[in-house]
């Protein structure tokens, strides 16, 4: 068994950069979470990152994360204890004590939320998560896809309200209830789901993603400090594939049922001169079409990078005139089994005619 490693204050920035990239356009900006974790670390909090083999089979693991709209996350900053209070309410309802916390999604702000709650509770975090990327809905984790119990779960807001779900029929109902309550809570709340046994987490978590995010962030930092082309370094070092380069010619957005849906239209440049790109967005990037042909789609990772700086662009900062590189990463095999595709494949996002064509890891 391994002891893992202690997260340092200096790790928080690269972790947040890597998490933003794995957010595939969504998941919320991890910057605010990074600052919150930094405040706690500076006050002496310590958080250890444990590999999947570190804890005994019967240890209880808590999954916590923020639930709401990304654009709210940068404006209505957390009171701070939302996820922590939700986690304590779940412990109370389940009658267990958590041994460690794990992220629902490594992509975006929820990479940091378990670290913050763990810092407040004095717990370690597990090196892994339930998506290996970001997705917009609660049920879209490997944990739920492979049978995690939906209850007891709890949702907490900034004002001291905590709602506990004692009996919930399935993960879809949990998503529906939690989503509508999160909207009442101002589209920014902390959600904790039912405790999971470590042997279950070991089998179902996407492994090593905290370290993966850290390494991606360090690749970006190193490329910048050496004045290298960040997009090229990422393509070389992460096994990602380039799918498009071009300029954004229009962004169409609307809010439907709590999610920012829309399309980004792109005019190709460089090797894609004369091509038209279109990216479907629902918080995250869902599908990329080039000249009308779908070339990469969920659950594989579609990432927009600023063409010059390599900065990952969240869907809410996409603007007319931006020059972007669209790169893709294959999702973990646990996310593309037939049962997973029912929950996170193109059909689950309203594209009944698309057949998922998995992206192969380059090299």
């Amino acid at each position: 068994m391994s002891e893992g490693y202690l997260l340092q204050e200096r790790d928080l920035l690269p972790l947040s950069i890597g998490a933003a990239l794995l957010g595939t356009g969504g998941g919320g900006n991890p910057y605010v979470g990074m600052l919150r974790a930094r405040e706690l670390f500076r006050k002496g909090a310590q958080v250890r990152v444990l590999p999947l083999d570190a804890l005994a089979d019967d240890a209880w693991i808590g999954e916590v994360g923020g639930i709401g709209a990304p654009v709210v996350g940068v404006e209505k900053i957390e009171e701070g204890g939302e996820c922590f209070r939700a986690m304590r309410a779940v412990e109370e309802a389940a009658g267990v004590k958590m041994s460690a916390l794990i992220s629902a999604e490594i992509g975006g702000a929820n990479s940091i939320e378990p670290i913050i709650a763990a810092a407040m509770a004095g717990l370690p975090v597990i090196d892994g998560d339930g998506m290996g990327r970001a997705f917009p809905e609660v049920q879209m984790t490997t944990f739920f896809i492979y049978g995690a119990k939906p209850a007891p779960a709890a949702i907490a807001d900034d004002k001291g309200n905590v709602v506990v779900f004692k009996h919930v029929k399935d993960m879809f109902w949990l998503e529906r209830f939690a989503r509508s309550i999160s909207v009442d809570m101002g589209a920014a709340a902390g959600l904790a789901i039912a405790p999971m046994r470590m042997d279950f987490v070991r089998r179902t978590a996407v492994p090593g993603t905290v370290t993966q995010a850290l390494n991606i962030g360090r690749t970006v930092q190193n490329a910048r400090s050496r004045r290298q082309n960040v997009v090229e370094r990422l393509l070389a070092e992460t096994g990602a594939t380039l799918f498009f380069t071009g300029k954004i010619t229009d962004i169409r957005r609307e809010l439907l049922g709590g999610f920012a849906r829309g399309h980004a239209l792109l005019a190709g440049s460089d090797g894609y001169h004369g091509c038209e790109g279109r990216i479907a967005i629902q918080n995250e990037n869902l599908v990329l079409w080039v000249n009308g042909v779908p070339v990469i789609m969920v659950p594989d990772l579609i990432i927009n990078l600023d063409l010059e700086t390599g900065e990952p662009l969240t869907t809410e900062v996409l603007r007319y005139g931006q020059r972007v590189a669209v790169i893709g990463l294959p999702v973990h095999p646990l996310m593309k089994t037939p049962e997973a595709l029912k929950v996170v494949g193109p059909q689950a996002f309203g594209y009944p005619d698309l057949v998922f064509q998995p992206l192969q890891l380059k090299g």
């Binding site: 405040e39 404006e75 209505k76 009171e79 101002g186 589209a187 004045r227 809010l255 900062v317």
Partner: protein, 514 residues
């Protein structure tokens, strides 16, 4: 049309007279402690050099880095009260949490978190508590603070709480300067709050500086209109600029880069604007500054302004040169406008970068005898240090290995001799006054920011309406109709409001019409 462009930097006040696209004359005068004398001198000099009568001047455009320099150098900043409305939300991160320690200390690190704020859909997070705010006002008064920055959660959606809190503070603290974040920035609490606090700490200075500009123009006998240039290179009138000094923050780099492109005729390049105190480096694309896509830092503070992607270092013609145990230290402190009395070549006692250049016999300026004693090793090490600083800065702005030229402009250009990091250097005619040229060619903008109900009117129709309103606003602000172009369109849906409401912002820009 006869226009005068003025650039008031930390060291020099530059002025140009332009007739259409022709630069008739360009001069440099020293910036003075009172600002006004330097502007008067520059105006008189440039009018004389161009042979133009004051009455013939149609318009004066002023760009200034004065406010940016004040933040970068942490001087002339007022003690500022940052008041955030949003409790219990936002308690995890206090205002100024991501600021450099020294800047936070300079303006006092005074902050209060109070109740108030809105949810994304306009609902109230918690009601405004007048007693709580009056209690804060007492504390602000007791600390002798005269400038207040008020930031309420989701004020870009609803700014009622900021306005109400502003009125409460105005009644409790008569004469206090009050800055509201909703007037300054967009969604993104920390960045908007940062910009609002910086605006607040500059209000004392802005009242003084704008008044000096006004008096200087009047004293010279010019009766034409008077504008300041803002971040995006367009113009704002003086009264507005006095209330919103923060909106001039990136105007210096914008003006120098647009001026550099105009003067050199080169549209793809890196521009290094070397002033007396700082050097700003950015890249030109199609003749316009490349905009930053992510949060831009000013003096180490994140903001969400749309600004040129410029990197600044404390290197200029007036930078202090000090020999330390760890080698030569150049800047970031500078004698600034006092170079004409404090530099060695002008009989002063402070060793500056300009002294080093004169000692190396590259330039003849002041009294070279006063630097003849300088050690040749010191001169060589300082020059190497200066070139290393510039090369590092240029490398940061280079986004590809393509060998773009570096256009060097600004009064401190004498520091550069030969290529920077192997890249060709271009010094265009009038390079020393490129900032002032950029100010003189500044355009006029019109902006609309309206909420449309897409249930009543389609998106295309809403955008078309907003665009035509923006064009009319630009024309009303003085733009020539046939030159007006839409430069920015942004639509943000406001969730859960009846009728699928969308907030649309459109900006149109055109040439100033006289």
């Amino acid at each position: 049309m006869i226009r005068i462009g003025i650039d008031v930097g930390g060291t020099n006040t530059d002025a140009v007279v332009m007739d259409g696209d022709t630069v008739l004359a360009g001069v440099k005068a020293a910036t003075t402690a009172d600002v006004m004398t330097g502007v008067v001198n520059a105006l008189k000099m440039v009018l004389a050099a161009s042979g133009m009568a004051p009455s013939a001047v149609d318009v004066v455009m002023i760009g200034t880095t004065h406010f940016t320099n004040a933040v970068v150098q942490r001087r002339d900043l007022a003690q500022t009260a940052a008041v955030r409305l949003g409790l219990p939300a936002t308690a995890s991160l206090p205002p100024m949490v991501d600021w450099p320690e020294d800047l936070r200390a300079t303006i006092g690190n005074h902050y209060w978190l109070a109740h108030g704020g809105n949810e994304f859909d306009g609902r109230v997070i918690s009601p405004l508590d007048e007693d709580e705010l009056l209690g804060i006002a007492e504390e602000i008064k007791a600390k002798g603070i005269n400038s207040i920055a008020i930031t309420s959660v989701f004020s870009p959606v609803s700014n009622d709480f900021e306005k109400q809190a502003g009125e409460i503070f105005a009644r409790a603290l008569p004469g206090a300067h009050i800055s509201l974040s909703s007037d300054i920035g967009r969604i993104g609490l920390l960045e908007r709050e940062n910009a609002c606090i910086m605006n607040a700490c500059l209000r004392d200075l802005s009242a003084h500086v704008i008044d000096a500009f006004r008096k200087a123009i009047t004293e010279t006998g010019i009766t034409g209109r008077f504008y300041l240039t803002q971040n995006d290179g367009t113009l704002m009138d003086a009264a507005y600029a006095e209330r919103f000094p923060v909106l001039t923050f990136a105007s210096g780099p914008t003006n120098s880069m647009r001026g550099a492109a105009f003067l050199s005729g080169v549209a793809e390049a890196i521009v290094a604007d070397i002033g007396g105190t700082t050097t700003d480096i950015g890249s030109l694309h199609k003749g316009f500054p490349r905009q930053a896509t992510v949060a831009v830092e000013v003096g180490g503070v994140r903001t969400n302004f749309r600004m040129p992607d410029v990197f600044s270092i404390g290197l200029g013609g007036g930078s202090h040169v000090v020999e330390t145990d760890k080698g030569i230290k150049v800047g970031p402190t500078s004698v600034g406008y006092r170079i004409v009395t404090e530099a060695l070549i002008f009989g002063g006692a402070t060793l500056t970068t300009t002294d080093i250049v004169v000692a190396s016999r590259r330039e003849s300026l002041g009294d070279p005898a006063k630097v003849a004693h300088l050690d040749t090793g010191l001169i060589a090490r300082t020059q190497a240090r200066i070139m290393a600083m510039l090369e590092d800065c240029v490398e940061r702005s280079r986004l590809s290995p393509d060998p773009l030229p570096v256009i060097v402009v600004g009064g401190g250009s004498i520091l550069v001799d030969g290529p920077i990091g192997g890249l060709q250097v271009i010094k265009p005619n009038h390079f020393a006054v490129a900032n002032a040229v950029g100010a003189a060619i500044a355009q006029v903008s019109g902006e609309v920011d309206r909420v449309y109900s897409l249930a009543e009117i389609g998106r295309d129709e809403a955008l078309a309406d907003a665009k035509s309103r923006a064009i009319e606003a630009a024309v009303a602000a003085g733009a020539l109709r046939e030159t007006v172009e839409i430069v920015d369109v942004e639509d943000v849906p406001l969730a859960y409001l009846p009728g699928n409401a969308t907030r649309v912002r459109v900006k149109a820009v055109g040439e100033l019409h006289v």
